[in-house]
Structure formats: structure tokens, C-alpha cells
């Protein structure tokens, strides 16, 4: 008589044993009540598990939700790609311009810098030599500053409300 073949009982009820193993189990079950009880319980459990879980139904709208999520993900991905593409294209343009017109660009920038410097020097000279021009500029600057301050305050108030 074999020991209790408890490790094989599950494979036995699932019909996953070789013919000789199966025969051994069947012989054993004929005179072993405890193993026969385990086999009986396992078969019952198997049917109960299938019976219960097969009644579970998925949500009706699941496929729409998945496709919606895929569409959203695709549009987010394309936005991310676009946001990466714009600065990348800008950098590429700058690099290309540098390679093609590098020396000309250097001269252009230095000329522009000299011009701005000269204009600044001229303007400061005018402002100090002619007091009325200096005074007008200061008044206009103060007025612009006040108008900007008031506008900013109104803007902040309206957004807070």
C-alpha cells in the first residue's frame, strides 16, 4: 500500500497524470477515506471557484475607456514631442547660421554694440547739457513707472477676485 499521495490529488482531478500514476491513485482512493474526502472537496471547490468567478462581468464601457486613454496618451506624447521639437529646431537653426555666417555675425554684433554704446553716450551728454530735456525724460520715466504700477495692481486685484 502506497503512502497518502496528497501531492498528486490536484493533478489527479485535473486529469494531468500519466496513466500509471492515475491507476495508482485510483487504487489508493478505493481504500483511503481521507484522500477520497480531499479529492471530493477539491472537485467541489474547483466547481465553486469556476461557478463564482465566471459570473463576474466586466464593465460595459471598458473598451471605450481604454481607447480614450490611448488617444489621450497619444496627444500628450505628440505635445511633448512638439515641445521638444521647437527648441531643438531653434538650436539647430542657430548652429547652422553660426556655421554659415559666423564671421559676418560677429562683425554685425560688434557693430551693433558700438552703435548702442555711441547712442547711449550721445543721449547722456544731451541730457546733462540741456537740463530741460533731462527734466522731461525724468518726468516721462516717473509717469510710465506709475502707470505700470497702477495697471499691475488692478490686474492683481481682478485675478484675486
Amino acid at each position: 500500500m502506497m503512502d497518502h499521495p496528497i501531492d498528486w490529488l490536484s493533478a489527479y482531478i485535473d486529469d494531468e497524470l500519466e496513466a500509471d500514476q492515475r491507476q495508482l491513485i485510483e487504487d489508493h482512493l478505493q481504500h483511503c477515506e481521507s484522500c477520497a474526502a480531499v479529492v471530493h472537496d477539491m472537485m467541489e471547490l474547483k466547481a465553486q471557484v469556476a461557478g463564482f468567478y465566471l459570473t463576474i462581468e466586466p464593465p460595459l464601457y471598458l473598451e471605450q475607456q481604454v481607447i480614450q486613454a490611448i488617444n489621450n496618451k497619444s496627444s500628450i506624447d505628440s505635445w511633448i514631442r512638439a515641445w521638444f521639437a521647437v527648441p531643438l529646431a531653434g538650436i539647430l537653426c542657430l548652429v547652422t547660421l553660426w556655421f554659415l555666417f559666423g564671421p559676418i555675425l560677429v562683425r554685425l554684433v560688434s557693430a551693433l554694440f558700438k552703435f548702442v554704446l555711441a547712442a547711449f553716450y550721445l543721449f547722456s551728454n544731451m541730457a546733462t547739457s540741456i537740463p530741460s530735456v533731462f527734466g522731461t525724460v525724468v518726468i516721462i520715466a516717473v509717469m510710465l513707472l506709475m502707470i505700470s504700477g497702477i495697471s499691475l495692481r488692478r490686474l492683481l486685484r481682478s485675478t484675486m477676485q
Binding site: A11, D14, E16, V49, Y53, A69, K73
Partner: protein, 175 residues
């Protein structure tokens, strides 16, 4: 049937969303039942099933054969469930809310269903997984070994241990 499925998988691989929708329609029952069995909650199961199908959509090019879709999607959802259970181990008791929900859903045989589900949730995720794959999804041992990437002997012993554990849990409930 198989040819039609093959066609849908093939078209979905080419980015046809209609074909992929049809695949979801066909497999959502099996996938959802597995996720629900593993996680024990409808909302979580729904999340994982969505995640599984989205993952499948973006990895369709890696599917070895158009005919292997069913096993492949089941492997994806199975792994996602295990990952989720590892990240957020569940409090293994059925909540009062869940009891009321179940009772409302299943007017007949309520006691049996709650007890069985409770007992299932007491098992380890690996034990639940093999029971669900075999008894609910109908996979044979060899298929399960391939799906879970474990030796055939492991499937045999794991399913045997899982059923004995489930039997013990239910016997506890009877005492």
C-alpha cells in the same frame, strides 16, 4: 474564429484602433475576471485591466505570434496584479462595504459566495493566481508553466498546495 482573431491582432499591430477595440471586447471578460480574482476589488481590477490593455497596445510589436495574444494579455495582467499586490499588500479581510455590495449583487447563495471569496483573498497571490488560471481561465498545466515561466512540476505542486490551502480556509469558516 482563430483566423478572425489573427486578422484583428495583425491589424491592431499596424495601429488600427478599431481592431484593437475588438480585441478588448473579446478578451475583457477573461482579463477582468482574472484581475478581480487577484485583487478582490472592482475599481482596482478595472484600473489594472485598463493598464494591461494600454501596455499591450504599445507593445504589440513585441508579440511573438498573432495567435499568442490570449496568453500574452493574460501574462501582462497577471504580472500587473502581482506587482500591485507587492506594492500595496492588502488587508486580507472583506470590508463591511464589500459584504453589503456582494449581498446586494448576489441575492441567492450569498453566504457561499462571500465565504469563497474571502477564503480566496486569504491565499497568497501566487496560489490565487494558479487557481484562477486553471479553474476560471481553463489553462492546462503546460500552458500555465509557459505563461508563468516556471517548470511544470512547480505548477503541479503550487496548484495542489493552493487548493489544499483554500480547503483549509473554508474549513476554518465552517468551524
Amino acid at each position: 474564429m482563430d483566423e478572425e482573431l489573427h486578422r484583428y491582432v495583425h491589424e491592431a499591430r499596424l495601429g488600427n484602433k478599431e481592431a484593437f477595440t475588438e480585441l478588448i471586447r473579446r478578451f475583457k471578460g477573461n482579463v477582468y475576471r482574472h484581475a478581480y480574482g487577484m485583487l478582490g476589488e472592482r475599481m482596482e481590477a478595472e484600473d489594472v485591466v485598463q493598464e494591461a490593455f494600454i501596455k499591450a497596445y504599445y507593445s504589440l510589436s513585441r508579440l511573438e505570434s498573432d495567435y499568442a495574444f490570449a496568453t500574452w494579455i493574460m501574462r501582462i495582467v497577471s504580472n500587473l496584479c502581482l506587482d500591485r499586490l507587492k506594492k500595496h499588500p492588502k488587508d486580507q479581510t472583506v470590508s463591511n462595504e464589500r459584504m453589503v455590495e456582494l449581498a446586494a449583487e448576489q441575492q441567492g447563495n450569498t453566504h457561499l459566495r462571500i465565504t469563497l471569496e474571502e477564503a480566496m483573498q486569504q491565499l497568497s497571490p501566487e496560489h490565487r493566481q494558479v487557481i484562477l488560471l486553471h479553474d476560471v481561465q481553463g489553462y492546462r498545466y503546460e500552458e500555465m508553466a509557459a505563461l508563468l515561466d516556471v517548470p511544470l512540476g512547480t505548477v503541479k505542486s503550487r496548484l495542489n498546495a493552493a487548493r489544499l490551502a483554500l480547503r483549509n480556509e473554508l474549513k476554518k469558516g465552517d468551524e
